[in-house]
């Protein structure tokens, strides 16, 4: 089987972002960028399916400008067979991502399509479900185990209050939970090798997809901060303060 895995380039999860003084947007200039953590889980799982002899080919795809080559190189260094960049300078919202990915799916015909459950910059959590809808295929979101049995994929989903197990007909779209696996570290020689590999580039405009924004960002701002608290020196003082200042008796 063939697996297509979508990887997004985002501000590294360790970095705190700030808004521009004019409130027009987030200032990400010069910040460290990385592959979206959930997408790393998706790449890792694809590679494990290949190592088990279940998958034949793993193709990584990223949508965005040429800088996105770095996350594709990271996917190649982890072990992906091929990488595709759908190039555009446009700001892509989840519906546009889903439409562009659908066009790539139609070219590549994968049996399994893996995405992260959410991009940690926009925190939308939509693209996978939207892609499944556009492809009119089954979906498995927030998956923490993946097993292929005949022409179905069996997944465990992490849901509020527990887990759920589904069997989904292939081709299927899955979105990954962090618990799916622990992504491998990329070794330097592999990274060097990945530098030499070809990245196939497709202009988004050549895919015949209208990917215009469906909402406008009017402004961004820093969240309200909590009023600064106080330090207590002992458990007894804590209980006293909670009782005196908040009327809470524990």
């Amino acid at each position: 089987m063939k697996i297509l895995v979508a990887v997004k380039r985002v501000v590294d999860y360790n970095i705190k972002v700030y808004v521009k003084p004019d409130g027009s947007n987030v200032d990400i200039e010069g910040l460290k960028m990385s592959m979206n953590p959930f997408d790393e889980n998706a790449v890792e799982e694809s590679l494990r399916l290949k190592e088990k002899g279940i998958a034949r080919e793993v193709v990584a795809v990223s949508l965005g400008n040429t800088l996105n080559q770095d996350v594709l190189r990271h996917a190649l260094a982890m072990g992906a067979d091929r990488a595709i960049l759908v190039e555009t300078d446009a700001e892509l919202q989840p519906l546009a991502v889903a439409k562009l990915l659908k066009a790539v799916v139609e070219r590549e015909n994968p049996d399994l399509i893996l995405l992260g459950k959410q991009a940690i910059d926009s925190d939308a959590g939509q693209a996978g479900q939207m892609l499944a809808a556009l492809l009119n295929c089954g979906q498995g979101t927030y998956v923490s185990t993946i097993n292929i049995e005949n022409d179905e994929v069996i997944v465990t989903r992490e849901v509020d209050g527990g887990t759920e197990t589904l069997a989904i007909s292939l081709p299927a779209v899955l979105t990954t939970d962090l618990r799916l696996n622990e992504p491998r570290f990329v070794k330097l020689p592999n990274l060097m090798m990945a530098r030499k590999k070809q990245i196939e580039t497709i202009a988004a405009t050549d895919l015949g997809v209208v990917a215009e924004p469906r909402f406008n960002v009017l402004n961004v701002s820093a969240p309200p901060t909590r009023k600064s608290g106080i330090r207590v020196n002992s458990v007894q003082e804590l209980l006293q303060k909670l009782s005196d200042l908040e009327g809470i008796t524990l």
Partner: protein, 317 residues
């Protein structure tokens, strides 16, 4: 936005009862000042529909009942919603793994955007939500004719009861058959549900083992009638089950009292608890970032402070 149509709320329930977040999503839906319908999908949903019909401000309770809808799949839920969507200006649900699984699929089928986890509804098509794990607040204006969103339930008031809305039965479309439900594992807990608990006791990696996590935090939670929460590090280390992870990628809570024990306060964690009314943090590192969101910070070794805390609390009855 010219004509004010109606608003549809998708209800989450467990077959016996409505999820409490439904009460909040219904009041969010009333922001538009348009008639609100509540959609209940499932099997044998009589009692749930009856309960729903008492919510104030509902025009109708729509019931789609069929055997194959007992364990609802996103494909079937989306087909049901899309069938009736053209009557509605807005379709929403409380933000949860249930709604986030279904509504993006609906949005794509209708070729409209979805707005996830709305903190505030400002006018007919403008919304405030957070991005970057709560580090940035963004105000967006939708350009679509149909607004699809999930709302941050704890930010909205709880709808009153005592009304008597009409219950309308709708036929279920044919089963989609793209996936099959096999089983579920519900975590059994005698404690209140994490997402709606009044008090939450959360522990981090520093508890050191599943035994210690249980040994120290359980008695505290029991005495306070609290739900237990955990950091992702604690969950990853196997000290606590995944479904009690609080944070950006876990559950978002807003209790009256949140007690963070041995929690460093990573932004991904604080995203899930910073709307709590009162935050108490116990950490032995005076520079831990959890103290920046804590109303009461105690710099102490948790292995000493927690037993002392337990001993000082009057046991719950």
């Amino acid at each position: 936005m010219n004509k004010l149509l109606k608003v549809l709320v998708l209800a989450e329930h467990d077959g016996a009862q409505l999820n409490t977040s439904v009460y909040q999503s219904v009041s969010a839906a009333q922001t538009w000042g348009a008639p609100v319908d509540l959609l209940i999908i499932g099997k044998a949903t009589n009692a749930v529909a009856k309960q729903a019909s008492s919510l104030a401000g509902l025009q109708r309770v729509l019931r789609v009942d069929a055997a194959h809808l007992e364990h609802l799949l996103a494909e079937d839920a989306a087909n049901i919603i899309v069938r009736i969507a053209n009557e509605y200006q807005a379709i929403l649900a409380a933000n949860s793994s249930f709604s986030r699984n279904i509504l993006p699929r609906v949005a794509a089928m209708l070729d409209v955007a979805m707005i996830t986890d709305v903190l505030q509804i400002n006018g007919s098509n403008t919304y405030t939500r957070s991005i970057y794990a709560g580090n940035v607040i963004s105000t967006v204006q939708s350009l679509d004719v149909t607004q699809i969103l999930t709302v941050h339930a704890s930010n909205f008031a709880i709808t009153k009861q005592g009304a008597d809305a009409e219950i309308v039965e709708l036929e279920a479309p044919a089963i989609s058959s793209k996936s099959r439900w096999l089983s579920q594992q519900q975590s059994q807990s005698h404690r209140p549900a994490l997402s709606s608990a009044k008090v939450v006791v959360s522990g981090g990696r520093s508890l050191g083992s599943a035994e210690k996590f249980e040994q120290l935090l359980s008695p505290l939670a029991n005495r306070l009638g609290a739900a237990l929460g955990a950091t992702r590090a604690a969950v990853d280390a196997g000290y606590a089950p995944n479904d009690i992870q609080v944070g950006q990628t876990g559950v978002v809570v807003a209790p009256d009292l949140y007690i963070a024990i041995g929690v460093s306060g990573a932004i991904q964690h604080t995203y899930g608890m910073k709307d709590s009314k009162i935050v108490v943090a116990i950490n032995h590192d005076p520079n831990a970032s959890i103290f920046q969101v804590a109303d009461y910070g105690l710099v102490a070794d948790l292995f000493e402070a927690v037993p002392e805390l337990i001993a000082s609390i009057t046991p719950a009855h």
